[in-house]
Symmetry: D2
Subunit: 449 residues, 4 copies
């Protein structure tokens, strides 16, 4: 009944989705080849660690290590055997052993000596996670630097602040950029600070029993002070969650940019590039591309983070499914978070900002957006209640008569101290925007130290 398993992925060819969810750098760090290479690094390191403490001879150790070359392994054969073996380590060890046996028969029995499949695979995932994290951190730093620059540059670029998608009060684009930056600080800090799972070495049951009295020395040489963590998935879960929070914060940026790019708003626009963001049928369109990719990444992450947590109910000393469910999920999490940074870096580097349009949009409410300020200014001479009543009536009058609030108010008898010109200047009602920007930049600086 069982159909012959044929290899496929290697012949399935390039992804039609380009680098939308997995950019070349991330694939290099987390791809199929990278994974096999990382498993082989484990086997080489294990052999060398065992040689270093005399468990095997130096020659045997080097003979094994010399064969740990991903290009010397038949990865199609590995793929074929992996299904029934139940995991990729078993066929890897078989294939590596065959290779070693051909070159140094006496070394063959010492391949993978004392280790278990999960030792190899978890260590390989740990290494891929570390590489991917480094890329993501580096990109995040670029992103945050760009945001810091935008925040500083646009301290005075007034624009409508929008709550529930309604104009509320003036803010500056600098404040918006600072808030984007501010949302990245905690996930960046956590992502950078969290302890990634180190190398895994536990042997069949997490006791390293097979290594006998050499176990402490081999363990120290191979994984330092890491304890076996076969069923302790907190490290990968925490990493996944950190990536999830980071991507959510990036997603908010992408989402905001899409909203700001709306035809009706048009305050920012993604930078143009040949072949970028056109429509297949509408000549006038300039679609968001990076913003869309970031948003899509943010939509995809939560379900994957949930899977990493759900997978955590490992049975006893090795799970029946929970561990296996992590494999591709963790890789997807790394790639998609990586893609979010890939696109965010490009989005922000090329962002075109139309400060004139921002200022102009503030007038869309004919001054209503300044009503709060006027009410507070009138509170001093008139008392808070009377001021509020007066301004609310003026707002209603302005809306009903389709007039500017300023004009309506100018018709009224207002205390002499009231300077409508000044009150209706949105630049004068940015409140704490400036110190908030400065404080956010300072925190970002502090994080970099």
């Amino acid at each position: 009944m069982t159909r012959t398993v044929t290899s496929f992925d290697g012949k399935d060819g390039p992804s039609p989705f380009g680098e939308f969810f997995a950019d070349a750098e991330m694939v290099e760090a987390t791809g199929n080849r990278a994974f096999v290479a990382a498993m082989l690094v484990f086997e080489a390191d294990l052999a060398r660690a065992q040689a270093s403490c005399g468990l095997i001879s130096h020659e045997i150790g080097e003979a094994i290590a010399a064969c740990c070359n991903p290009d010397a392994i038949d990865r199609h054969e590995l793929q074929r055997r992996a299904t029934l073996a139940g995991n990729p380590a078993i066929p890897l060890v078989q294939l590596l052993t065959e290779t070693v046996r051909r070159k140094s028969p006496e070394a063959a029995p010492f391949v993978h000596f004392g280790a278990t499949s999960q030792d190899v695979i978890d260590t390989a995932f740990g290494a891929m996670a570390a590489s991917a994290r480094a890329i993501i951190i580096a990109r995040s730093q670029t992103i945050m630097s760009t945001l810091a620059g935008l925040a500083d540059t646009h301290r005075a670029s007034v624009m409508p602040g929008r709550t529930l998608l309604q104009h509320a009060l003036p803010i500056s684009f600098g404040l918006k950029a600072a808030n984007w930056l501010g949302s990245l600080l905690l996930p960046f800090q956590r992502l950078r600070g969290t302890t990634l799972p180190g190398g895994q070495l536990g042997g069949a049951c997490g006791t390293l029993a097979a290594l006998g009295t050499d176990a402490p020395a081999v363990r120290r040489a191979l994984v330092g002070n890491a304890l076996p963590w076969h069923t302790n998935r907190a490290g990968f879960q925490a990493l996944s969650a950190d990536l999830g929070v980071l991507t959510a914060a990036l997603g908010k940026i992408g989402h905001d940019v899409s909203l700001l790019m709306q035809t009706e708003v048009a305050e920012v626009i993604e930078g143009a590039a040949p072949g970028k963001g056109g429509s297949s049928t509408l000549p006038h369109k300039r679609n968001p591309v990076h913003a869309v990719a970031i948003t899509a990444a943010a939509i995809r992450m939560p379900g994957l983070v949930a899977t990493m947590l759900s997978a955590g109910l490992h049975e006893h000393e090795r799970a029946v499914g929970g561990w296996h469910a992590e494999w591709e999920t963790l890789r997807d999490l790394l790639r998609i978070a990586g893609a979010a940074t890939f696109h965010a870096e490009r989005l922000l580097a090329g962002l075109e900002i139309d400060t004139a349009r921002m200022r102009a949009n503030l007038d869309l409410t004919s001054g209503l957006v300044m009503a709060e300020r006027v009410a507070f200014a009138l509170a001093e001479p008139l008392g808070r209640s009377a001021a509020k009543t007066l301004v609310e009536a003026a707002c209603r009058e302005a809306i009903a008569g389709k007039r500017a609030l300023r004009a309506v108010l100018a018709d009224k008898r207002l205390p002499a101290a009231i300077d409508l010109d000044a009150l209706f200047d949105p630049a004068g009602y940015l409140g704490e925007s400036d110190p908030i920007i400065s404080e956010t930049l300072a925190r970002w600086q502090a994080l970099q130290r």
Copy 2:
């Protein structure tokens, strides 16, 4: 700053995870090549539909259709362009147009005429989903047939029924198999019955305006009576949910088999095969493999189903991210549900069942598992309260004295009508197991008609 995008996936080689989560047949149906091929089928069908109603000439239609060959498209170039284009349809149309132009310059302007990117991509996903569903349905039928056979064969194979992982009452293995089958009936029925999204044809904004007065005829020829569904994602969401429910039901089977395979239980075991289920270090182990893969699939699906639902908040006539988040997610859902059926088919076909061990395990509680029956039998002569009191006391005595409940009861004065031999025969206390099995089989038969 922007690094050159290099192609990667096609060079990344075979997956080290074998067919654990994506078997060859599913990859053939849903892989990168299949997707490009499906997009080209759309373009060919569109051209032919337009020719059939006279919008373009027959020659132009055939000239376009003739170029719609996935092997004539430079898929690496497609990959390179897709990232900045924002989706794979734009570069596909470009590349196809270039090909057509070389062969029939006059046909080139009519490639993709009146359609939009989402028309191509959604139609291609719909086609892949239909292929994948057909595979999954066929496999499910095999799985259900096997289960029906197990249910029928093992009507009398008594074993412990376990609630909260404690022995509760006797059941038969046939009943367990019937319950596994029963859980598949609804998802199978829904999956088979649900209306998959048909072809998509809406043009830039879902109005087909570009096709002018030919729109109705082209639409009818291409997609039948399907209405444009650019922002109507219920079809893919419903499919995803159905796959999720199906996989959950399969996952329960895998989970149960893993539990039944426990060293302490040993009532069933996965069939052996060369290279299957060994340990990389322990010679005596025979690990579950298919059961593990099914369980892992069931752990992975819920997060992906959630993503399909989360992605549904499409903006206006075309989403900024929600649609894009569906792409790989839907493909993963199809593949992982497919993998669950792939492994379940193999698991059940090879399942080794140890009915002697099942019977023997029933004795592990020294007869306590029959206590309910004895209490009910004694209720007639003694009254329910007195019977319950007597049996509970006997149970306590049996546990405290580490004796068999039957022996404890034999020491007591029981009404003459009480036949302990008969009462302690688990085969006599299977209740409605048999009619439940029969009724489940009948429902399964009815579904097949």
Copy 3:
């Protein structure tokens, strides 16, 4: 160490979130009292079923049924005992038995006779789900009727179609409403059509063994032809998924309304009501409220649907955790889907539509939104390539010179047959909007029959 468990919820008082996520009607159907009442209905029905087939006397049956009154049960005591008992059925049966014993001592031993905790609880959830579904279906019908009316009324209300949040082509608001309606058809149909889990009766292990030879008659009388479904969770999972898809479709409506209410767009606005949608500090704002609640509901559902699927890996004949994880989750799903319908009904009933603003917004692109149409019109006299080149150049000129596309084109030599006035009338470029609306309405009509 164990602190005394005190009752709390009943004293915790009203929810500060009002009916945002759980409206009064849904709480009445799915609340704590409703659940206890539903469990008691099971116990009464069970006793009557057993009396009807002579397993117990008519008097005993009625004596039990008479005590099945939620107000006669000390629900605080039930709460106190439920934690350690492990589920609410055990203390319910205890309390009910105590009540029965006080009134008819001889009936007490027959309370809950032959049933298991899960029989009671699953049946109660099934009943609550049925009530909640009926409410949701009724509301959905109102919602869909309102949408049908909007679609029909606004066939000619032209507005910008927006893809990726950019103006693309003209559509009508009627088409938008029809598309909203169209997205509800499938989930409505599935929700209405799906088979809800019927009553549960399986006894301790799903075999009904305790009921002896009366089992078939009791089962028929109590649950009709339903088979025990202790570990078959497909019914609740399918219901949850259907609610998830329905809520996603409603969420898209809420999301669109929020976007259409933007200060810059202002094409629709939620109806005003006293105490509705104000800002705690800004006098001029009119915030979306129902739209926000619907969107929030749509954000909350996917995670809960995922939980229902994840919970499905039940162990053997009764789960250790998976079943328990369903309880509050299912209730939340029912309530939140209910809330989505509650708010959607009110949102749409009160929606204020500004067709003048819709028409005016179409001019924001100075005619670029009509570029596709002009290019297609010019294709006939000039050929498609020349037409496209000409229009693209005109678009660039219009954008660069900040002129209307129509004016730019008027300056050019165009074939005499070209009537720019007609071409730039968006009402003439709605394509298949009208038939799509009609067909959608027809499908909705057909569903109601």
Copy 4:
């Protein structure tokens, strides 16, 4: 059309689920009353902060603060108004203002002065989160202390280590407990170390503009150095994720205990208590209760964590739905994580451990579980390959002949140095169990310092 909204929750009475998912202490910290109280603390603190820097008079500040009493607010009225208001802060401010007006009319206009709804609500959630975290941390410490004790006490309690639910090698129960403890270290550390969102004060648009020149002083007095975080949800997301990882680690403990409690395994059992863990129909059962509750909690968390991440795509300066979706979700996350700790504390405190059964279960494989050790011991005299071949043959012989592996080997000619008695003593093959336990305990000690 709009039905009158009636209050309900306060009359819906006690939860039939007892403290399964929300224990009394957590409800006290996060319940409806607690939430209203926390919102009022914000209003009182705000008034006092404004008085402290002279923005309002000391009398007015105290007059407002004096009214901030949850029992003086009509919470049913608050509930009634909250739905249409769109959030609970608006009616709270209304009701509070009415109360203040009755007592000190001149203070009424200064209630909530310069703040926005989200300031109140986010601050209240932050306070509830802080209370809940403190409870969870305290309970986690108790749990970890108990685990440390178990790990230390049971260093020599040998038991089968199980991988993929198959016996693999001997471990000690102390190692299992140490591994449970080890999995808690990272989530505990992160949960304790993460920066919770502080008080929120941003005013309508996050600029504090309404507070004018007093803004810095009010901000400092009220929230210290916290910057407005209206759209920065990383704090709550990170907290949610930490709770998710912690609960997953607890869930693994619950899951393991359920597995160890299986009738066939019976190595540990939950402590008995009156009214605990009985079956409603089977007298002999002793069901897991706390283990089940923990597992159920672990199943429920991932979906909720995903929701917190999905909700993060806030629009501009205040979200249309994303923020609202957080409210009940965050509360559920706190309660369910709290419940996991509640039940884990009780589970571990009462755990009964049967070390004799553990030792006896090791013999279930008739010595096969020691095969790896024998093979390694024979490798020295015979060489690794010969040793492996010999042992594998002996294993096959033992399995086929249903003999003990030790007996099979005793029949063979083995080198004199081979001491089968010693080799088959599982206590001698625990490898690094002891140092791993010690190191884990040391890390736990270090965390407490």
